[in-house]
Symmetry: C2
Subunit: 238 residues, 2 copies
């Protein structure tokens, strides 16, 4: 929204005669359901996993064979072993698909989906013809939904996660070697696309610089406070 | 917003014939400017510090003498040594007050202000008399500002932090013993207020339970991903 990102994406969509309004985000997602325990990078190699989009391109560099399976067929594919793993969203949505019954190991974080941004897409020419007050209503309503969706996921994920663990889910963090190899593979993938696709590059390069700046700020007050609270909480629970 | 918090606060404000709309948040704040290095809890004792509100009550339990000084007098008080430390907001706002020139040690995180929520307060009776479309416009405009303010602070804090470090600020994290004593003191303070104040208790108890639930979820996908990204980034920078 700030820092120029919204405008960069608007410039991109403009060539399709579309204007987008950010209208929701999932927050951080889970890494998905695995039939076997994944202890290190080696355990990922050769695994057939339902994972869509850019995440699939990235995880292929780690030796995973990405599969794009429609949601309706996912459960059966995972149950029969046609695939070894499937990622979807997070506890609140994953619970509905029932994966816990057939693939116990529930990994986190979903590093390929640190969040998923949803947008409302509108015909650019037509939206400009709306009365100004309608344009403002559309824009502010999308903004309200945006904040609400983040809050609703945060509020609902905990209860769903508790139910999933009670139903037998084995919570497991991805190992440090997987996470660091994944980040390297992600930026190799992005760099590769940027070298071939000018439109991708126009958004990617400023985004990369902005992300790097944000890491500086988030490593200071935000992450240090979150981590201190979680550490205190863990030591109290023991 | 979700989980019942907005409604609890609305119930509280209702007794003042007021309705509030969340309309902005600062995100995590900084711990403020100290004339001397603070290595542990012992170094805090006897310190005179500008810190307002509940934070002042909490930090008093750690031996700090909280001072409530108007913003216009803060710089002079810190320069003359009338106070030893002052907290304000974060890099973007702190920079304007020029503290870096007179108190080099810039501590984080501002554990007494993990965020500051701003609200628009409206006369409840009068707001109910507005046409429905005006009521909706007010609510959605506040929601839009809410998201924008968080994004604007995040985007602006990094550049300000860089300038402050270039101007001589010595960034320092509060020690683990300070952070853990601070959390203990905070909950003692809240419990104490709740035991005397029924209205506080009505919001505090559900909030405390909700916070505990959120810690479970945030310790999984959100914090593990943030921490992994920051670790990779730090090791790359070295």
């Amino acid at each position: 929204m700030e820092g120029g990102g919204l405008q960069l994406m608007r410039d991109f969509y403009k060539s399709f005669n579309v204007i987008q309004f950010p209208a929701g985000n999932t927050g951080a997602q889970m890494g998905g359901w695995f039939r076997k325990e994944i202890k290190n990078l080696e355990d990922l190699r050769g695994l057939k996993m339902r994972i869509a989009g850019l995440g699939g391109q990235v995880i292929a560099r780690l030796g995973v064979v990405p599969q794009n399976i429609p949601p309706g067929d996912l459960y059966a594919a995972l149950e029969r072993g046609t695939i070894d793993a499937a990622e979807w969203i997070g506890p609140h949505d994953d619970e509905r698909l029932g994966f816990v019954k057939i693939a116990k190991f529930y990994y986190y974080p979903g590093w390929w989906d640190p969040c998923a941004q949803t947008n409302v897409f509108v015909n650019l020419d037509q939206s400009g013809k709306l009365p100004k007050s309608y344009q403002a209503a559309l824009e502010t309503a999308c903004a309200e939904v945006h904040g609400w969706m983040v809050a609703a996921y945060d509020a609902n994920n905990t209860a769903a996660l508790r139910r999933l663990v009670a139903a037998g889910a084995q919570l497991r963090p991805f190992s440090a070697d997987i996470l660091s190899a994944a980040e390297k593979a992600a930026f190799e993938t992005y760099d590769n696309i940027a070298s071939r696709n000018e439109k991708f590059k126009m958004v990617y390069e400023p985004w990369k610089k902005f992300r790097q700046d944000q890491l500086l700020w988030f490593s200071v007050a935000e992450n240090s406070l979150d981590s201190a609270i979680l550490t205190t909480n863990r030591s109290r629970a023991q």
